[in-house]
C-alpha cells in the first residue's frame, strides 16, 4: 500500500510549514513568493519546498483565522496578495513555537549521548 505515504509526508510537513509561515509573517506582511523565498533563505536552503505546496497551507491558515490576506502592490509594481498575522495568529505562533522547542529539546535529550559521542 504505497498510497499512505503522501499523507504521512503531508502530516509531517503541515505542522512545520505552518510554523515557518507564521514565523516569517511575524516580521510583517508578505506575499506568497516572498514567504517561500524567506523560508528558503532563513533555513539556509535546507528547507527547500516546492513553492506550489505553500498555497494550500496559506489557505488553511487563512481559513483558521490565523492570517489574513489582501491584494496589494509589490516594490516592483506587481500586483500580489499580501498575508499578515492576525492577533490569533501571533498567539498561535507563540504556542506552536513553545511546543516545537519542547519537542526539539526532548528529541535532543534522547539523541544526547550519541550526539555527544559524535562531537567528542
Amino acid at each position: 500500500m504505497p498510497t499512505h505515504k503522501p499523507a504521512e509526508r503531508d502530516a509531517l510537513l503541515q505542522g512545520t510549514l505552518d510554523l515557518l509561515i507564521l514565523r516569517t509573517l511575524q516580521a510583517g506582511p508578505e506575499h506568497g513568493q516572498g514567504i517561500a523565498r524567506s523560508i528558503q533563505e532563513n533555513s539556509a536552503d535546507v528547507l527547500l519546498v516546492e513553492h506550489g505546496s505553500l498555497y494550500p497551507a496559506l489557505q488553511r491558515l487563512e481559513s483558521r483565522g490565523w492570517i489574513r490576506a489582501k491584494w496589494g502592490v509589490s516594490e516592483n509594481n506587481r500586483r500580489a496578495r499580501y498575508y499578515e498575522l492576525t492577533a490569533r495568529g501571533s498567539r498561535q505562533l507563540g504556542e506552536e513555537a513553545d511546543r516545537w522547542r519542547r519537542m526539539a529539546e526532548a528529541v535532543a535529550r534522547i539523541l544526547g549521548p550519541d550526539a555527544a559521542e559524535g562531537r567528542s
Binding site: 494550500p56 488553511r60 500580489a80
Partner: protein, 907 residues
C-alpha cells in the same frame, strides 16, 4: 466564516507568484528567457496546486457544485448500463408516486378551476350521532341514532331546501351561497338518451362567476316558485355534441322526462361546477317537484350540496360560526337534532366524510408507491455498494492529497442526486402522460380532472427524488470514504478482513428477494385464479345473455302501467326470431342484489345461526331459470301462476341455503320470512356463483316476481308512513333478460321496446362483458405484479450477484490458503455459496410471510384458488432460489479458480 475566495482569485495569485519569482531570478542574474521556466519549475505542478486548493476548500462553493455536477454527469455517462438501470427504476417508482400524488392533490386540495377559486367554499352539516362514512344513498334512506333521524338522498352532510334558504339569509361572511344536486334525466331525441343534469339554485352561475358566451344564466325569477321556469342552460360540450354548436339553439325546446324546457344559455367551455363530472345541462332547482317526488318541501332531507363565496377578508371560521348559529335555531324544531356547520375551501372531494375517505385511500396508495420507490432505492444502493471497494482506492488517494472526507462525500452524493433527479424527471414525464391514458381507458368520458403537473406536483417529485437520493446515496458514500488510515497502512483490505457493512448489504439483498418473491407470488396466485375462472362453470350461462333495463320512472310510469309495459315487452321479445328465451328479473348475476334478514317460519324457527341470519336474493319471473340455464335440482321452477299468487310467495332456494338453514332436513315446501315478506320453498336450484366468482353463493334464493302488486319498501314505509301509496306510484324495478342466439337479434328487442313507447330509454347490459369486467382487476393485477415482480427479480439478481462477487473477493486470500492446504474446487464453491444462503433464506421467509397476509386480502380475486396455494408459493420460491443460486455460482466458481501462489503473494 469568511467570504469564500473565487477560483479566479487563486489563479491570479499563482500568476502573481510566478511573475514575482521571475523578476527575482532576473534580478539574481538568471537570463530572462530562462527565468520564467525556472520559476515555474520551482513552483512545482501548477495544476496540482490548483486541484489541492480546490480539494481543501471543503464546502459547496459554487465552483465545487458545478464541478461536482460535471463529474457526476461524466461518471454517469461512463457507466451507461448502471445509469440506465438506476434512472429507469427511479422513473417507474417516482412516476407512480407522482401520478398518485397528482390525483390526490387534484381531488383534495387543489383549487377548483373557477374564478377567484381561493374564496369558494363548501358548506356541510355535521349532525351529532350521525356518521358520514362517505357513503352515498341512492334512494331515500333514513339515518340516525337516538331520537333524531335524518332522511338522506345523497349523503348526510348535505342540506334541505329550507335549510339552504335560512343559511343564505343568515350569513354575512359569504358574499353568496348557492345549492345544487345532480340527477339523471331522459332526454327525448330521435332516440331517448340518458343524460346527467344538475338542479341548481338560481344564483349558481353568479356565485361561481361563470361566463355565459351565449344567452343568459339563471335569474332569481326562475326560482320564484316551484315549477316557475322550465328553462335549461347547456354545457358547452353537450351543446357541441348534440346541437352541433349551433347558436340558434337558444329559445329552442328540449324534452326532459316528457316535459318541455327552453334553452336560455350555454355555459363557458370546461365549466363543470365544483364537481368531477360535467353535466349535460343545468336547470332551476325549483323545477324538481315536476321531475320526481317533491323534495323542496322536505325540510329534513339531505340532498343539496351548498357552495358559497367568501366576502373579501372574511374567513371560513367566521362563516362556519355564523351558519352554526342559524343551524341551532332549527335544532329547536326537532328533538335530538344537534347540527353544526362545517365550511371548507372547495375541492373536488367535497364533504368531510368523502374527504376523509379520499385521503385515507390516497395515503394507502402513496404508501404502496413509496414501497416501490423504496425497493428501487435499495437496488440502486446495492449497486453503489458493490462499486464501493473499487472506488475506495481512488478516494483514498484523493484524501491523502488533502481532500476532506466531507468534500468527497458531497461529490458522491451529487452523483446520486444527479441520478435521482434524472429519474425524477423521467418519472414526472411518465406521471404526466400515464394518468390521462389510464383515465381514457376508463368508462368516464365526462370527467373533468385536470391532472396537469403544476408547481406543487413538480416540487413533490423533486422532494421524492432528493429523498430517494438520500436513501440510496448516503450509505454507499460513507462506505466508500470510510478510509481508516491505520487499516490501510497495514494493508488489511487485501488480507480479507471483514470490513465495511456486510449486514447492510445482506439486508438489502434479503429485502430485494423478499420484494420480488412477494410480487411474483401474488402474480402467480392471480394467474392461477384467472386460469380457474376461465375454465370454471359459474352455474349460469354467460354467452348470449343480455338484460334490457327500461327507464320507466323518468317517463312518469306508475306501477300498473310499468307492469303492463314489462309484460308486453316480454311477450313481444319472446316471439322474436333469434331470441331463445326471455324473462324478467331485478338483477343480472355478478352485480348488485337484495339483502334482507332471514327467519324460518316452520317448527324450529330461531334455532342455531338462523336467529340473526340474512339471505341475498334476486326477484325473477317465470322463464328465468331456463334463460340463464340454472338447473333446478328438486321441486320446480317458477310458473306464470307464481307471478300473481298471494302471500306466501314462491321461492327457489340454492343448495347452500337449504343446507345452511335446514341442515339435515328437507327444505322443500318449508315457509320462511325475508324482510317483511313470507315465502314457501317450491324448488331447490344448483349452487351458482352469482355474487362473486370466488365462491358459490352462501345463502341465495330467487323470489318470484309479481306483476300485479308492488313489493313494499320498508325504508320508505317507515319514513313517510305512506309507503303503500308510494310503491304504487313507481314502476316495478324489473329488467328484461334474454338469451340471444346472436347479437343481431338485440336491435329487434330495442325496436320492440320502442314499439310500445318510443320515449322510454332502454339500457342494455351484456353478461359476458360484466363477467369480463369482474375478471379485469385480477387480470390487471396479475399483469402488474408480474411485470413489477420480474423487474424486481432482475434487479435483485444483480444485487445477489454483486454481493456474492464482493464476498468472494474479500475471501480470496482465505480461499487461496484453503486450496494450498488441499481443498477441492467444489469445497470452495460450496463455501462461497454458503455465505449467500443466509440472505436468500431470510428474503424468502420475509417475502413469504408478507405474501401470506397479502393473499388473504385479495382472496376475492383468486376465484376459489386457496390463498396459500402451494403451487404458487413453492413454485415461485423454488424458481427464485434456483436463479439466485445460479447468480451466486459464477463468483463462487471464479473464487475456486484462484491461484494460491498468487493470492498469498498479494501484499
Amino acid at each position: 466564516m469568511r467570504r469564500r475566495r473565487s477560483e479566479q482569485d487563486f489563479q491570479d495569485e499563482i500568476r502573481s507568484h510566478i511573475e514575482l519569482e521571475t523578476d527575482r531570478l532576473i534580478a539574481e542574474g538568471v537570463p530572462a528567457d530562462e527565468a520564467r521556466a525556472q520559476a515555474l519549475r520551482r513552483f512545482g505542478d501548477v495544476r496540482a496546486a490548483r486541484r489541492r486548493y480546490a480539494a481543501s476548500q471543503g464546502g459547496p462553493g459554487l465552483e465545487n457544485v458545478l464541478r461536482d455536477v460535471g463529474l457526476a454527469f461524466r461518471s454517469v455517462v461512463r457507466e451507461p448500463g448502471f445509469a440506465a438501470a438506476a434512472v429507469l427504476t427511479l422513473a417507474l417508482g417516482i412516476g407512480l408516486n407522482t401520478a398518485i400524488f397528482s390525483v390526490v392533490w387534484t381531488l383534495t386540495l387543489r383549487p377548483l378551476p373557477l374564478r377567484e377559486a381561493d374564496r369558494v367554499v363548501t358548506v356541510h352539516h355535521r349532525f351529532a350521532g350521525i356518521h358520514d362514512g362517505g357513503t352515498s344513498w341512492m334512494g331515500d334512506a333514513s339515518v340516525g341514532s337516538g331520537s333524531f333521524s335524518r332522511r338522506v338522498s345523497g349523503r348526510p352532510p348535505m342540506s334541505s331546501w329550507a335549510e339552504y334558504l335560512e343559511y343564505r339569509a343568515g350569513t354575512r361572511a359569504l358574499a353568496g351561497l348557492t345549492a345544487f344536486a345532480t340527477i339523471g334525466l331522459t332526454l327525448d331525441a330521435e332516440r331517448p338518451l340518458a343524460i346527467s343534469a344538475r338542479l341548481v339554485a338560481c344564483d349558481y352561475f353568479r356565485v361561481l362567476q361563470v361566463r355565459l358566451p351565449v344567452g343568459r344564466g339563471l335569474v332569481d325569477d326562475d326560482c320564484a316558485r316551484p315549477g316557475a321556469a322550465p328553462v335549461v342552460v347547456l354545457s358547452d360540450r353537450f351543446w357541441r355534441s348534440h346541437f352541433g354548436g349551433d347558436p340558434s339553439v337558444l329559445g329552442r325546446e328540449v324534452t326532459l322526462n316528457r316535459r318541455a324546457f327552453t334553452v336560455v344559455g350555454i355555459a363557458e367551455p370546461g365549466f363543470a361546477g365544483t364537481e368531477l363530472r360535467m353535466p349535460a345541462l343545468w336547470l332551476p332547482v325549483t323545477m324538481q317537484p315536476l321531475l320526481g317526488d317533491d323534495r323542496l318541501s322536505s325540510e329534513n332531507l339531505s340532498w343539496l350540496e351548498l357552495v358559497g363565496r367568501l366576502r373579501p377578508g372574511a374567513t371560513v371560521e367566521q362563516a362556519a360560526a355564523e351558519l352554526t348559529v342559524v343551524a341551532h335555531r332549527r335544532d329547536a324544531l326537532y328533538p335530538g337534532r344537534n347540527a353544526s356547520v362545517l365550511v371548507y375551501p372547495a375541492s373536488l372531494a367535497a364533504g368531510p366524510g368523502l374527504r376523509k375517505a379520499a385521503v385515507a385511500n390516497a395515503l394507502a396508495a402513496l404508501v404502496a408507491a413509496a414501497l416501490i420507490v423504496g425497493i428501487g432505492c435499495l437496488n440502486i444502493m446495492n449497486l453503489l455498494l458493490a462499486r464501493a471497494p473499487a472506488r475506495q482506492r481512488a478516494v483514498r488517494i484523493r484524501m491523502a492529497l488533502g481532500a476532506s472526507r466531507r468534500r468527497i462525500v458531497s461529490q458522491l452524493l451529487t452523483e446520486s442526486l444527479v441520478l435521482a433527479l434524472l429519474g425524477g424527471l423521467a418519472g414526472v414525464a411518465l406521471a404526466t402522460w400515464a394518468p390521462p391514458l389510464i383515465v381514457a381507458t376508463l368508462p368516464l368520458q365526462d370527467l373533468q380532472l385536470d391532472l396537469s403537473a403544476d408547481a406543487r406536483v413538480f416540487s413533490y417529485a423533486a422532494a421524492v427524488s432528493i429523498l430517494a437520493a438520500a436513501v440510496f446515496g448516503v450509505a454507499p458514500a460513507l462506505e466508500t470514504t470510510r478510509v481508516d488510515l491505520a487499516t490501510a497502512m497495514r494493508g488489511e483490505m487485501a488480507a480479507g478482513a471483514r470490513r465495511g457493512v456486510p449486514w447492510l448489504r445482506q439486508a438489502v439483498v434479503s429485502t430485494q428477494l423478499a420484494g420480488s418473491l412477494l410480487l411474483l407470488v401474488l402474480a402467480a396466485l392471480l394467474a392461477r385464479g384467472l386460469a380457474r375462472a376461465g375454465s370454471m362453470d359459474p352455474g349460469f350461462a354467460v354467452d348470449g345473455i343480455y338484460s334490457f333495463q327500461p327507464e320507466l320512472a323518468d317517463q312518469g310510469y306508475d306501477f300498473v302501467r310499468g307492469a303492463a309495459f314489462l309484460g308486453e315487452l316480454r311477450a313481444r321479445t319472446a316471439a322474436l326470431p333469434g331470441i331463445e328465451s326471455a324473462a324478467l328479473s331485478t338483477f343480472l348475476p355478478l352485480g348488485p342484489r337484495s339483502l334482507a334478514p332471514f327467519r324460518r317460519l316452520d317448527g324450529n324457527a330461531g334455532e342455531g345461526d338462523a336467529e340473526r341470519a340474512s339471505a341475498e336474493f334476486n326477484t325473477v319471473s317465470s322463464g328465468y331459470f331456463e334463460t340463464l340455464g340454472i338447473a333446478i335440482l328438486r321441486g320446480r321452477a317458477f310458473t306464470r301462476e307464481d307471478e300473481s299468487a298471494a302471500e306466501p310467495g314462491a321461492a327457489v332456494i340454492g343448495e347452500a341455503m337449504a343446507r345452511r338453514f335446514w341442515p339435515g332436513e328437507d327444505a322443500l315446501g318449508r315457509p320462511f320470512r325475508v324482510g317483511d315478506r313470507t315465502y314457501n320453498v317450491v324448488g331447490i336450484a344448483r349452487d351458482a356463483r352469482s355474487l362473486s366468482l370466488a365462491e358459490t353463493d352462501p345463502a341465495f334464493f330467487y323470489a318470484a316476481a309479481h306483476l300485479d302488486r308492488p313489493l313494499e319498501n320498508a325504508a320508505r314505509a317507515d319514513s313517510a308512513g305512506n309507503g303503500r301509496a308510494a310503491a304504487w306510484r313507481e314502476p316495478p324495478g324489473l329488467s328484461l333478460v334474454v338469451r340471444a342466439a346472436d347479437a343481431t337479434a338485440l336491435a329487434a328487442v330495442h325496436r320492440a321496446a320502442a314499439g310500445i313507447d318510443p320515449q322510454v330509454l332502454v339500457e342494455r347490459v351484456s353478461l359476458a362483458e360484466r363477467y369480463d369486467a369482474v375478471l379485469r382487476p385480477a387480470r390487471l393485477g396479475a399483469l402488474f405484479s408480474g411485470a413489477l415482480g420480474l423487474l424486481a427479480l432482475a434487479l435483485a439478481l444483480v444485487g445477489v450477484y454483486g454481493a456474492a462477487a464482493w464476498s468472494a473477493s474479500q475471501r480470496t486470500r482465505e480461499f487461496g490458503v484453503r486450496i494450498a492446504l488441499g481443498a477441492e474446487r467444489h469445497d470452495i464453491i460450496r463455501l462461497a455459496l454458503r455465505s449467500g444462503l443466509g440472505p436468500l433464506v431470510a428474503g424468502l421467509a420475509i417475502g413469504g410471510s408478507v405474501a401470506v397476509a397479502a393473499a388473504q386480502v385479495m382472496r376475492s380475486l383468486l376465484f376459489g384458488v386457496a390463498p396459500l396455494d402451494p403451487v404458487a408459493f413453492l413454485g415461485v420460491s423454488a424458481l427464485l432460489s434456483a436463479v439466485a443460486l445460479a447468480a451466486m455460482y459464477r463468483p463462487a466458481a471464479r473464487a475456486s479458480r484462484v491461484d494460491p501462489a498468487r493470492t498469498l503473494r498479494t501484499d
